[in-house]
């Protein structure tokens, strides 16, 4: 079935249309995310309350202060955090797949997840509870960046500069090593297992604080990646060809890796280790809109955002008023969805 990738010019030209489509899907997902939830508030009241948030608009939704606070302080930031995290993970996944020219690459390939897992476990185990709301995201961010740097350093010393195979293997080694330490640390205090797993399974309910915390990194990394779509297209024909076209493959790879790793670290910092989004969304996008990174990157951003908003909505309503961990939903719903897309679109990609 693998057919050599054909560089299609069509999708790249059709790009604005796809992006508009992606925006519409995301907007619909966010509206749905805002309307649904465990608290019993009618959609109409949510709409009125949302209108009241707009500047110069003053509408009385008839909601109690607690319910107003609930929408503004819990549901709205939750939808936004889900969108930002989903978008970051998906665009980071697309970036990694482009750099490594490997369909199995995902945002956690280079040790970001295991690095963050280790530092967060250490914080939960060793730091007293009252400072954890701040220290957990900071530790996750530092751990994710640290894990990637370690893998990168290891890959560069072990292999030829700029080679991707050694880098992937270094990522595997770093992941195993850091996971081993993480497991050891969590054994030291078994009673914290529940909190560690809660974090690992992911959560986007951090509120506005988390959104502001992740915002700057999200913006920088997304812009950086979006600017490199064209370069990734050139890289996809091979290093030698790229060089002959005047592109310095190693440098492009480094920049894209930096952007993707920053995006991953930011996402992990606020939401834990949400699986599946980073690997599946770019593939779905490719199937639907073609393989050019000028299309794949922006659409992954939008599609990942919409996907995670919907996954979070499901996590919130399926067994309401209890919640499912979002990581369970992304994999449980995402995997069959992915298979369906694969079967429906037997188009070659990657």
């Amino acid at each position: 079935m693998p057919v050599p990738a054909v560089k299609e010019s069509g999708p790249a030209r059709a790009r604005p249309l796809w992006v508009v489509g992606g925006l519409v899907v995301l907007a619909l997902a966010m509206v749905a995310g805002l309307l649904g939830g465990a608290a019993d508030i009618s959609p109409w009241q949510v709409v009125l309350e949302a209108a009241d948030w707009l500047p110069f608009v003053d509408v009385d939704s008839g909601l109690a202060p607690v319910e107003q606070g609930l929408l503004l302080q819990l549901r709205l930031p939750r939808v936004l955090v889900a969108a930002v995290v989903g978008g970051l993970l998906a665009i980071a996944g697309a970036g990694y797949q482009g750099v490594f020219r490997n369909p199995l690459a995902d945002p956690y390939l280079l040790g970001a997840a295991s690095g963050a897992g280790l530092t967060v476990t250490m914080v939960i185990v060793f730091v007293p509870g009252d400072v954890q709301t701040v220290s957990v995201p900071v530790a996750a961010f530092a751990g994710a960046v640290g894990g990637v740097l370690l893998a990168y350093a290891l890959g560069n010393t072990a292999g030829r500069a700029g080679g991707t195979a050694t880098l992937v293997l270094a990522g595997v080694a770093v992941t195993s090593f850091l996971t081993a330490i993480q497991t050891f640390v969590q054994q030291l205090k078994v009673e914290e297992l529940q909190r560690i797993y809660s974090w690992i399974l992911g959560d986007v309910g951090g509120g506005w604080d988390q959104l502001w915390m992740v915002g700057p990194y999200a913006l920088c990394s997304a812009v950086l990646l979006l600017l490199h779509g064209r370069m990734l297209d050139v890289l996809s024909v091979g290093d030698d060809e790229a060089t002959s076209l005047g592109v310095r493959a190693a440098r492009i790879r480094l920049v894209v890796l930096l952007g993707a790793s920053l995006a991953t670290a930011a996402a992990v910092a606020v939401s834990g280790l949400i699986a599946f989004v980073g690997i599946v969304v770019p593939h779905v996008v490719r199937r639907l809109a073609g393989g050019s990174y000028r299309v794949v990157l922006p659409l992954s951003l939008l599609g990942g955002a919409a996907f995670l908003v919907m996954a979070d909505l499901l996590a919130r309503v399926v067994i309401a008023p209890a919640e499912l961990p979002i990581g369970v939903v992304t994999a449980f719903v995402g995997a069959p969805f992915f298979v369906v897309v694969l079967r429906m679109t037997r188009r070659a990609s990657m």
């Binding site: 319910e67 009673e191 809660s198 919640e323």
Partner: protein, 318 residues
């Protein structure tokens, strides 16, 4: 260790297929005590004795003098019923009473060699972690599995079991009856007509406990209505509640069992997104429980019920 949390962690582990943990009594290998040998040492009155524990009938040949407890609840009970002097080692989570001989033994990852090194003639555990019951059985060390109680009756039974097994039956029966009488008295005094609602928080995620759990049944004695009961059974007795649901349900009383672990209190709750207008916070009806007491099922359950009773009186008086 804090058994509510423990039970949950066990479930979590099972879920993740990391290990077969939990309180299964169906191992089929009740630890076999050494047959009562007609030894020269005169057996204390009442021995040998057979106790029906979580791991089946366990026969104890003579009065144990070297008890190892890997269960914080059992440790509390043993000391309460006067078996304290017979206890030689307790696990790293047994922090009450202070005179309990705390060691670095773990009830979660029990190390058979370390346990046997204490030369125990009775081991009490709350979880059959790593098949510890079978392992110790192979070495002819009698083990009592006294799992987390799911009903008050089970808690009374466990006190009585430990009394019988350690030769302190009269005192144990007296304690069990005392606990029962205290709870009934507290419950009788509680104003139940107001149908006050409550939320019992296990951790900041937030995981809660429903009425079907052991702790939930204690609140039930006071006629309180649990907001977590709206969660479907699929969520288990300890559902991860939606923060917005808690906000909208706006319970009259909030009981925190994550005070020691996670530094939670009324002020911390008010800082959570969307929770600052909760009436329990405004009205000073946030009760900081002792995490340990709230997650064990020994005699100190009376302390817990007393805190709950006071909070209910205060809330009803408003």
């Amino acid at each position: 260790m804090r058994p509510v949390r423990t039970a949950f962690t066990g479930a979590m582990l099972g879920l993740l297929a990391l290990t077969g943990c939990g309180q299964s009594s169906g191992t089929g290998t009740a630890s076999v005590a050494p047959a009562p040998v007609p030894s020269s040492a005169p057996a204390a009155a009442g021995f040998p004795v057979t106790v029906e524990a979580g791991n089946g009938p366990v026969t104890i040949a003579k009065k144990p003098e070297r008890i190892v407890s890997l269960s914080p609840t059992a440790t509390e009970t043993l000391f309460a019923i006067g078996a304290g002097p017979q206890v030689v080692a307790v696990d790293d989570q047994s922090n009450h009473p202070a005179e309990a001989p705390k060691t670095d033994l773990s009830g979660f990852k029990p190390n058979v060699e370390a346990i046997v090194a204490q030369k125990p003639d009775l081991v009490v555990v709350a979880n059959d972690a790593d098949k510890i019951v079978t392992e110790l059985g192979k070495l002819n060390v009698p083990v009592l599995l006294e799992p987390a109680a799911t009903k008050l009756e089970e808690a009374y039974d466990e006190i009585a079991d430990l009394g019988a097994a350690t030769g302190n039956k009269p005192k144990a029966d007296e304690i069990a009856a005392g606990v029962k009488a205290s709870l009934e008295k507290l419950a009788a005094e509680a104003p139940k007509d107001k149908k006050l609602t409550y939320y019992h928080e296990l951790d900041v995620t937030p995981y809660a406990a429903t009425s079907s759990t052991f702790i939930g049944q204690i609140y039930g004695l006071f006629g309180l209505v649990n907001i977590a009961d709206k969660a479907p059974d699929a969520a288990g007795g300890y559902p991860k509640l939606s923060a917005e649901f808690v906000a909208q349900a706006d319970p009259d009383l909030i009981f925190l069992a994550d005070v020691k672990c996670c530094a939670q209190n009324s002020a911390a709750l008010a800082k959570r997104p969307g929770w600052k207008d909760l009436s329990a916070i405004k009205n000073g009806q946030v009760v900081e429980l002792d995490d340990d007491v709230a997650s064990r099922w020994g005699p100190r359950v009376v302390d817990l019920a007393t805190s709950v009773g006071q909070a209910v009186q205060k809330a009803a008086a408003r």
